[in-house]
């Protein structure tokens, strides 16, 4: 155990671990850029679709089906399956991870808008708000905490799964783990794992802070729209993970 600790410290302490294309800054940047590209693209695609489905109530079956397929096809399988079509590295990792990022954001947007109190929406309509105005000024703000929760699930999942991109020749922090196994280099192996775990925990925590900030004042805890004390997994279809 002490030996292992010394190896890990030795790896972090080695100046060679910090420079060049296999240095920690480069690998960290690759990991963050891949994850961010997936989350941002998924936001652009999934939020408008989720808002439309939640507002009109039409197409819910499509949303549920997309979520279920995303849950049933593990990321590991997706990466290996897409490789023959997209090739080495980012070009395979991006579409594979994007397919995993979309379902949690889509379902949470749809469920968030759907669960907005219909009386509130009707009141807005009675006040003469247009459909677009209702969506923008009533439904979206009230659904925002649920949407951000979906983004958090998606982001943590994509940070975790981006580790597997190393399997298809991609960069990122997973490189250290895959290489650590191959070279039986425990310092690199555990050091890389520590970095990945820290990044995942930081992502979860950071978006969690945003999640609490975006709750509209009228829906803070204690009122009907507040956060339920226990999140039942059935109410969060996006909970299943695959990385």
């Amino acid at each position: 155990m002490i030996e292992l600790l010394a190896e890990v410290v030795g790896w972090f302490d080695d100046p060679a671990s910090w420079v060049g294309p296999n240095g920690i800054p480069t690998r960290l940047l690759e990991h963050v850029l891949l994850s961010a590209a997936c989350v941002l693209t998924a936001l652009v695609v999934a939020v408008p679709v989720g808002l439309a489905i939640g507002h009109t109530g039409r197409g819910a079956l499509i949303a549920v089906t997309v979520a279920n397929i995303g849950r049933g096809l593990p990321s590991y399988a997706l990466l290996l399956m897409l490789f023959p079509f997209f090739g080495i590295g980012f070009s395979t990792a991006f579409p594979a991870l994007l397919l995993l990022t979309i379902p949690p954001i889509l379902t949470n947007t749809y469920v968030g808008v759907r669960d907005v109190d219909r009386d509130v929406v009707e009141a807005g309509r009675g006040m003469g708000m247009t459909e677009g105005g209702l969506l923008r000024r009533v439904e979206l703000p009230l659904a925002l905490p649920v949407i951000v929760a979906g983004v958090r699930t998606a982001a943590v999942q994509v940070v975790a799964t981006a580790t597997l991109a190393a399997l298809v020749g991609g960069g990122g922090l997973g490189r250290y783990i895959v290489d650590g196994f191959a070279l039986q280099d425990d310092g690199q192996l555990v050091g890389g794992a520590l970095l990945v775990a820290a990044l995942a925990v930081l992502t979860e925590w950071g978006i969690g802070v945003v999640e609490r900030r975006v709750v509209p004042p009228g829906a803070r805890a204690g009122t009907a729209g507040g956060r339920a004390p226990i999140e039942v997994a059935t109410a969060r279809p996006s909970l299943a993970r695959s990385g």
Partner: protein, 212 residues
Amino acid sequence: MNWAWIPANIGALIEATIDHIVLTAIAVGVGLAIAMVLSIVIHRDRRAYGPVTAVTGLLYTIPSLALFAFLVPITGLSLLTAEIGLVSYTLLILVRNIVAGLDSVPADVRETADGMGYTWGQRLWRVELPIALPLIVAGLRIATITTIGLVMVTALIGEGGLGQVMLRGFNFRNWAAVYAGAAITLALGIVVDLLLVWIGRRATPWAAARTR
């Protein structure tokens, strides 16, 4: 694409599928046992809820490959390493759902059981757990499908079931093996999910009677 590989290796595919099912069953079985104990502790003393979900939540957040990387220097490339990782991912899902299930028992039902002279254990076993069953099964479904996916990642530490077939296929650019492994995994997930739904329905006949 060498499709002839599939019929020629049907025996190996069946063996990998069985491996995959066994790895999943051990993880979900052990996970359910631990989660049940944790949930009953929480049920007795609510103060345990925060710490238990904090620890299981942290385990859940750590990427699977990183968790295996932490364990390999200690427990080696072994079944134990794979199962510690797989079990730890089922805990958060199961504890949340079991506790939510126990919470869903109406207070008057609980009081009726007390009034009939049930002990704490009898009340839990004969009244509360049966009422909690639909939510427990919902948690089991999510935990099982998650585990089926994560078993694949254990191919990197020498286990993996169908993940092993896919990884070996990938290394030799044998795409038939990669697609066969993926297709069987997808089918396995659907079949097991339907099976759990069916078991859940059979175990709660009163729920079906009420909706009829």
